[in-house]
Amino acid sequence: MGLIEKFLSLLESAHWGVHPHDHKRPAADAPLRTLPLPARLYVPLQQHIGAAARPVVLVGQTVLKGQLLAEAQGATSAAIHAPTSGKVKAIGEITAPHPSGLALPAVTIESDGDDRWAHGCDPDAAVDPFSLPPHEVAQRVAAAGVVGLGGATFPSALKLGLGLRAKIHTLILNGGECEPYLSCDDRLMRDCAAEIVDGIRIMLHATGARKALVGIEDNKPEAIAAMSAAAQGFPEVAVKAVPARYPMGSEKHLFSELTGMEVPADGRTTDLGALVHNVGTAWAVHQALRKGRPLVERIVTVNGGMIDAPGNVRVPVGTLVEEVLAFVGMKNEIARLVMGGPMMGNLLPHARVPVVKGTSGILALTPAEAAGFESGPCIRCSSCVRACPVGLLPLEMSARIAAGDLNGAVDLGLKDCIACGCCAFVCPSHIPLVQFFNHAKGELAAQGRAQLRAESTKRLAAARTERIEREAREKAAAAARRKAERDAAKAAAAKLAQEASQQEPAPTEAVS
């Protein structure tokens, strides 16, 4: 058994994932540039997983940089702050950075050009985070509107609290940046290593974890060197090089690579005592706790064959993509615009969408770089099976979905799919496999919601029937009771009458 299992895992585990051309250089090596302050910023109220934030400013109000624009609303939400000083021009809707091009509520700010920080957003006002109790650190992280900067944009404070409750022992910092083209984390680690390490130490304090492992893909030697140097003197922070392979930055895969353990299906890394955060998040935590500065800007990689000067740019949240593109220059051709990396990023409907907290990159791809879209029949080459980092059978799943058999796809493990795109990346027939899976997941979610609705309707209907029956029963019972009372009264009256008649001799004889 043990031997067979070993043989099988040797057969399978050797090559998960893919090795795409990373296109990271020269963009990664170009010095960080800062975008000139745009005249207008469009700050969406939903830049995170969870409910949209609730605006706390009014149209026409003057705001300072870092001032709260909207507060978190509900259990999973994050605060939104003004990315510059100026006037609130509008609170309305703007196109979301999503292929649907749907509208998203946003606060429009007209910059006054001063870029003046609000009161309290300066290092002198900050207290030593290590003197604060852990939950207070998390509170400050929440107040600064920090969300996971790896792309998932989960509110970071919630994760820190989860780590504290789960009594984690290891904090894992994701510096994998396995997506091709992207180098924002690389640039951040090269330029701000000390700040990141400080943020990591604050996060260790906030979660109660004893050690931190920073996983960085070995195609970023400069970042590894900078981070290792910054971690000198902090034995609790260890920098580890991991092989460059997509999707190494997947939370569970990086965790397995660094710890040798495997997260059970339906479980989390916290079940095994580890919490995974992005290195950019650690930087944002440092900014929040040491400088009192909320998350209002980030580093965005602008890359792709259509870009004149690819590289990394410091961009205020809410900047329109077209302003960033104009800044780096674009060859005059129609490109495919993608927000995020090419493997999991979102296609943009156009360039008039804002940069948000989770925007790691803006790609303008030439037709040659972007995937083709003429798909052919599946030739069952099983490239997708070899590429899948989760161990699924993408070809079988897509065939089931194409035939409308969603449950068949679920039986094959659809819910374990992480939508990393390895399968579609290698498919020689150019089958849009991820699109199949996303469609099926959406359809299943809709079915689930419909079922919940149907069940609640059924419950309501049953309750109504029951209520009507109960009322009828009660009515009948009341009627019966009343009748019984009447009868009893009648009987009593009759008895009284009888007794009366007995007292007075009955006039029977007279009658007869």
């Binding site: 022992h169 059970p264 479980g267 303008a364 995937a371 052919g376 080459c381 699924l392 579609a424 027939s429």
Partner: protein, 369 residues
């Protein structure tokens, strides 16, 4: 400005990621496989002369014609499907498995049968359960056993007595019986000769050393099909495909092991009755089958373990049919039988999903240190 940066003006852009591709497509795969067949094919052309060239060409033409005909019959455009190169490859593989001097109608019927019956009737590329080239070969072998088992000794291009272009055309069009020096060139393949002699009660120790014994040439100068004699060139092409990442090593290695292991054991036990492993591996379609036929994507399993089982099954059945079956050669039958098992193998053998055991249940979390 926004129009300049618009994405959705391009037609039919898929909405979902990824927005990158590893490159290469189906036609590139087919092209690489055909390139890998070129050395062995050229060697075969040289060894058996013009008739082999003509038969190859005819088989390919009719394969492609059959594919186009079936597609037109369904009201579809033939050209896009033909461009993937799969019909051409099917014809090529079939041609390599035929006796090189077989008449034209063998190649024509085979080509039509492969693409129309074995492929398009099942639904076209990716839908066929059985390897089209092998279905056609078996259909021809069962229907026309005589021309399908008439082999010739090597008669290299340009050597004395070799047919020239027109004589070659005549042999292909009218049959090799019309060739005056037929007796001089007709030969048996090693497997056929061994089987015939065994059935006459002459054991291998005598039959393989006599004057009529076919030459067991390790460099391939012997009777057989185009894809048989140049076993080393076929294997070389196959290894090139493995190195290029077109096929994986699992099926070829397992299939050759499936032939070699029982051959080694049985030959060691009784050399008079059982051929040795080298003769098995270099004869018939062993190499062609292992590297080019059994590895057909469409008809082989999807997982590595499944491919090992499939390959070993192909090898074991090949050896079994060759040793105890009615036919001297067994690769085509073995591959078809295992093709039939492929859906079952794919059902039973699945990769382990991350975080789950092989039965699909979530794994137990390890003890926290």
């Amino acid at each position: 400005m926004s129009a300049e940066f618009s994405t959705l003006t391009a037609p039919q852009v898929p909405l979902a990621s990824p927005h990158a591709h590893a490159g290469g497509g189906v036609s590139a795969v087919m092209l690489k496989v055909m390139l890998a067949l070129v050395p062995a094919t050229l060697f075969g052309f040289w060894l058996y002369g013009w008739p082999a060239v003509h038969l190859w060409l005819i088989t390919l033409l009719f394969s492609v014609f059959g594919e186009a005909f079936a597609l037109r019959l369904m009201g579809r455009h033939a050209l896009p499907a033909l461009k993937d190169g799969s019909a051409l490859l099917t014809g090529w593989l079939l041609a390599l498995s035929l006796p090189p001097w077989a008449p034209w109608w063998i190649g024509a019927l085979g080509g039509l049968f492969a693409t129309i019956v074995a492929k398009q009737i099942f639904g076209g590329l990716g839908q066929n359960l059985f390897n089209p080239a092998m279905v056609a070969r078996v259909a021809l072998l069962i229907s026309f056993p005589v021309p399908m088992t008439q082999w010739i000794a090597p008669l290299p291009l340009g050597s004395a007595g070799a047919p020239d272009f027109l004589q070659g055309l005549q042999i292909t069009l009218t049959g090799m019986d019309t060739w005056p020096q037929l007796d001089a060139v007709a030969s048996a393949s090693l497997l056929g000769h061994a089987k015939t002699e065994l059935s006459r009660g002459i054991d291998l120790l005598r039959s393989l050393v006599g004057e009529q014994a076919p030459a067991m040439s390790y460099v391939g100068l012997r009777a057989g099909s185009l894809g048989e004699t140049a076993a080393w060139l076929i294997a070389g092409g196959g290894i090139a495909l493995i190195l290029m990442g077109v096929i994986s090593w699992h099926i070829p290695v397992a299939m050759l092991a499936g032939i070699a292991l029982p051959a080694l054991a049985s030959h060691a036990a009784d050399p008079a009755r059982y051929l040795d492993a080298a003769a098995h591996l270099l004869s018939g379609g062993a190499m062609l089958g292992a590297f080019f036929i059994a590895t057909d994507y469409v008809t082989s399993p999807n997982t590595r373990l499944g491919q090992l089982l499939f390959g070993f099954g192909c090898g074991l059945l090949t050896w079994t049919i060759r040793t105890w079956g009615g036919y001297p050669e067994g690769v085509a039958f073995a591959v078809l039988l295992m093709n039939a098992l492929t859906p079952a193998i794919d059902r039973l053998v699945k990769p382990r999903i991350y975080g789950r055991d092989r039965k699909g249940k979530p794994i137990e979390p390890p003890e926290s240190p």
